[in-house]
């Protein structure tokens, strides 16, 4: 296989259960390097779990996940990794960044420290360099003047933009966005989406987006995956999924979302 053909992300027949609940039920898909994928579907259909598996926050029960061809092995709750396996996991994890619905900024640190912590602790970047770099990313998300603020002093939209800068600072190849605008007041959604649009345009990161914002998913993604009950029910380019979905279930879902006005 040549390098070009290696998918950036590869799920093969992945399954996962929590007790009686089968959250992932034989999920297979691939993402090319630089591809932007949107994961849509009803809540509880497994979209977020896909992102959490890629971020090594969840283990899987069956199937394989590969990142740039390397298999991802995340230990379950009761398992412990050997030193070398732990290091291997950390190396792969370094390729992935994630932005969360509830921001999860570190409240005891100022904005600058939130961003420099990762590069300084995990990549051996010096403080000066990390701070200079952090300021560049803050500038990119339009918050250069907030470097010395505490997260508690920021609006939701600002917090989420800091969270994006925090992920970018580690220069990941893959960015995961987990319902990043769902917890925001409607008037703050646009400032976050604008930053993501810029990222999609100006970087070649592979991006996976879990969202209910259908209009944004339509502009943003190269391909849309529709999830239901732990499976991918339908996938295709956004024009096709949103305009002429093949599955009745997809159609009902889209109609419901549009009617509920959740589509911001």
């Amino acid at each position: 296989m040549t390098r070009l053909q290696t998918p950036c992300i590869e799920f093969h027949d992945v399954s996962k259960r929590y007790g009686d609940l089968q959250v992932l039920n034989g999920v297979s898909f691939q993402a090319r390097p630089g591809e932007k994928l949107s994961l849509i579907g009803p809540s509880g259909s497994g979209k977020t779990t896909i992102l959490r598996v890629l971020m090594t926050l969840e283990s899987i029960d069956g199937g394989t996940v590969r990142i740039e061809g390397e298999p991802l092995r995340v230990p379950g709750e009761q398992q412990r990794l050997s030193r070398s396996a732990e290091r291997g996991l950390q190396r792969i994890r370094g390729k992935v960044g994630m932005v969360f619905q509830h921001f999860n900024l570190f409240p005891h640190m100022d904005v600058l420290r939130n961003i420099t912590l990762g590069p300084m602790l995990t990549q051996g970047v010096s403080r000066d360099e990390a701070e200079a770099q952090a300021l560049r990313y803050l500038d990119m998300v339009g918050l250069a003047d907030k470097a010395r603020s505490r997260p508690s002093q920021l609006s939701g939209g600002q917090k989420q933009r800091v969270a994006i800068a925090r992920s970018l600072a580690l220069k990941p190849k893959i960015m995961l966005f987990d319902e990043v605008t769902s917890a925001l007041d409607p008037e703050l959604v646009d400032e976050v989406l604008a930053v993501m649009r810029t990222l999609a345009r100006e970087t070649d990161m592979t991006m996976l987006l879990v969202t209910h914002a259908m209009n944004f998913a339509r502009d943003f993604s190269d391909r849309v995956l529709f999830f239901e009950r732990g499976r991918i029910l339908e996938e295709g380019p956004p024009q096709q999924i949103f305009s002429e979905p093949r599955e009745e279930r997809t159609r009902t879902f889209l109609r419901k979302i549009l009617a509920s006005g959740q589509d911001l």
């Binding site: 971020m55 926050l57 732990e86 994890r93 999860n104 409240p107 005891h108 925090r166």
Partner: protein, 218 residues
């Protein structure tokens, strides 16, 4: 009933020695409780159900039986199986072990109060487990732990009076001895009460200082 100042001055030196022992017992007891409590708290997060169960039982046992009984067991029963401890050592071990069960709960509550999302975010920026504890979890948990830890320490100061029952010559034991010798209890017991009050006030002020320091972590 009259108040005899001369009598007061005559027993003050021995009472102050008793106060010193009380403080020493509290400080050593607190150190033991802080360390053992941390061990119990961490072991309570074990991946093994058996360990978690054992820890839960030990904590329940220590909190569910009186300190006085625990002191008696350490001082009067352990010698039967060949473990003879000097009174002071037996006393501080009793205090420390008893309170470690409470402090374990304080640690756990502090750690559990930190949002799960903080672990997720720390993993997402690729921190190791040690780095997550050191840079993210503990700095948020410790400020919440300090006030209850301090309160338990003050509780220990007062409960150290129980050490008098196993012949540790702290404040209360001294007052009793003076009373038994002179048949005057008013002055020694009043002074013991005032000594405890003074000590708890000092401890409270120190605690305030510690709380402010801990806030600085945030």
């Amino acid at each position: 009933m009259t108040w005899d100042w001369q009598f007061v001055w005559s027993f003050m030196p021995t009472l102050l020695e008793g106060a010193w022992l009380t403080v020493l017992a509290t400080v050593v007891g607190t150190v033991i409780a802080l360390l053992l409590g941390a061990v119990l708290a961490v072991a309570g997060y074990s991946r093994y159900r058996l360990v978690r169960g054992a820890i839960a039982f030990v904590v329940q046992f220590l909190r569910g039986t009186p300190l006085l009984v625990q002191l008696y067991v350490i001082f009067f029963v352990l010698p039967d199986i060949g473990i003879v401890l000097p009174a002071f050592l037996a006393g501080v071990i009793g205090l420390g072990v008893h309170y470690s069960a409470y402090l374990a709960e304080v640690y756990r509550a502090g750690i559990d109060s930190v949002d799960r999302g903080q672990w997720d975010a720390s993993t997402a920026i690729n921190l190791s487990r040690r780095q997550v504890w050191l840079h993210v979890i503990l700095p948020q948990a410790i400020p919440k732990m300090v006030p209850p830890l301090g309160n338990y320490s003050i509780g220990m100061l007062k409960e150290s009076a129980l050490l008098s029952t196993i012949s540790v010559f702290e404040l209360v034991a001294r007052a009793q001895a003076i009373g038994n010798e002179t048949y005057r209890f008013t002055e020694p017991l009043t002074l013991v009460g005032l000594s405890f009050l003074t000590l708890t006030i000092i401890f409270t002020l120190l605690l305030r200082l510690a709380e402010r320091k801990a806030e600085g972590l945030r």
